[in-house]
Amino acid sequence: MKLNGEKIAKYALMTVAFSALASLLLIAVFIFKEGLPFMLKVGVKDFLLASDWDPQAGKYGIYPMIIASLYVTFGAMLIGAPLGVAGAIFLNEFVPKQVMRVVKPTIELLAGIPSVVFGFLGVMVLAPFIRTHMGGPGLSVLAAAVILGIMVLPTVISISSDAIGAVPNSYREGALALGATRWQSVYMVTIKAARSGIIASIILAMGRALGETMAVIMVAGNTVKIPHSVTDPVRTLTANIALEMANATGMAREALFATGIVLFVVIMILNGIALSVIKTKVRKK
């Protein structure tokens, strides 16, 4: 009787352990099932590289949105990556442990601020600022990049900081003993040793920026157009899905799932790179 209970528990747990992997596969299957036939019908090349998006007229080119997503994501990384990595280095190497113990959780706590709130602040504070000082409608590539850059800060700081914290103290002591200044030891030894974790943090943040939807809808302006300046409004891939989902049916809806496929594939590649960067590091240790 007892042995039976044990066996049941074991197999039940084993089944349950598949839940995450099964969910992932289910998500992939349903998004592909809905979008792939459409993509093949329109032609993968036409779908990805045509510049006209007008579902009512049967035009389904997402090229402007791919470009928009790239600009906004890289813009966000230009802001978020240096600030975040600098913050992680400063908090780990140049500040007393007690300060770090207060500041890092505070920053991580702020990762919980809902993205709609960031978006709203972008609309109320940042967009008017850009409109008066730089021209354009305010809602723009720049506004989206700044808001996303701020939003990814906790991710970059938290993961980089864990990587820097994991560098053995003997490395630093070795550098200092050789006469290096504190900064030289950081620059020449610590950062090099923590490199893979820092890179992983940036790639993961990139995935977050690329996938962010609500904040971007609110601040990017949503015009389907290849931007010519940072103050031009744009529509990203994620915004396209969320904006048209409510009313789309038939082909138009399939087009949104096909957009979802593009997003899914790119994000999976980014996550795959980040995970393998972290993994190889672990193996080396």
Binding site: A12, L25, I27, F90, P105, Q184, I241, L263, N271, L275
Partner: protein, 279 residues
């Protein structure tokens, strides 16, 4: 033309410090701005009365109820799955190719953006399973979204239970399952609760995945098959459609306070847990 290392260091440290200060200042500014603009409009009536004219007047009570129910439903579904997975990975198996694949699945799931959860939840729960926009569709979608968080935190919590506890239990004749139920899980509980709180926090703040699965009906949900509107979705609609800036700020203030309180509870619990372990 060689700059002395001391000067380089001073410059570098100043720049790093300035960057850190800027980061903290921006994040703190966001909180203060939202609370400053929103809190003056928040009172008991706002919290506990029904909205009027699409939210232009009145309160947010139904959305408050939705914000409590939806995350709870998500956790009710994700908790057994997540803890079960963690128990299996830590107590029932060694590191094999099989567990590496399971872990890889969890890590990938964690990286999927919420809009894709929304798309999936819509096509699977709402359309294919014909559940419609409702509390249950939204809860199931959010459950999948928070599953990786629950698995990871539970796994860490279970791993931190000292092996000697298990050995004592086994030596008293307990089976593996009895050991899990009576020794491992009770000792890992604070860590598991931390994961639950983080999952609730993320669910409260989520918009994209919720709006396409739970819908946005602005009335009291009466069953699991009723559409609900959470505070995040309500705030998004108020702000995006320009219905009322005051009500939007007020809702944002309540939303931010809720998320921060939940996350704060999670972190303080984690710290107490770590402190107890390292003693």
């Amino acid at each position: 033309m060689k700059i002395s290392p001391k000067i380089t260091q001073a410059v570098a440290v100043t720049l790093l410090g300035a960057a850190t200060l800027l980061t903290v200042a921006v994040l703190v500014f966001i909180i203060i701005f939202v609370l400053g603009k929103g809190l003056p409009w928040v009172d008991w009536e706002f919290l506990f009365s029904a909205p009027k004219e699409m939210g232009r007047a009145g309160g947010i009570f139904p959305t408050l109820v939705g914000t409590v129910l939806l995350p709870l439903m998500a956790i009710a579904i994700a908790l057994p799955l997540g803890v079960g997975t963690a128990v299996y990975l830590t107590e029932y198996t060694r590191e094999t190719r099989f567990t590496r694949i399971l872990r890889f699945g969890t890590d990938c799931l964690a990286g999927i953006p919420s809009i894709l959860f929304g798309l999936f939840g819509f096509i699977f729960f709402v359309i294919t399973l014909k559940m419609g926009w409702c509390l249950l569709s939204g809860g199931l979608t959010l459950a999948i979204m928070v599953l990786p968080t629950i698995i990871r935190t539970s796994e860490e919590a279970i791993r931190s239970v000292p092996n000697s506890y298990r050995e004592v239990s086994f030596s008293l004749g307990a089976t593996r399952w009895e050991t899990v139920l009576k020794v491992v899980l009770p000792n890992a509980l604070p860590g598991i609760v931390t994961g639950v709180m983080l999952g609730i926090g993320r669910s409260i703040g989520e918009t994209a995945a919720v709006i396409f699965t739970a819908g946005s009906a602005l009335r009291m949900p009466m069953s699991a098959f009723d559409s609900v509107r959470t505070m995040s979705v309500h705030f998004y609609i108020l702000a995006r459609e320009g219905i009322s800036n005051e009500k939007a700020y007020a809702t944002a203030a309540v939303l931010v306070i809720s998320v921060l309180l939940v996350n704060l509870a999670a972190y303080s619990m984690m710290h107490r847990f770590i402190a107890r372990r390292s003693r």
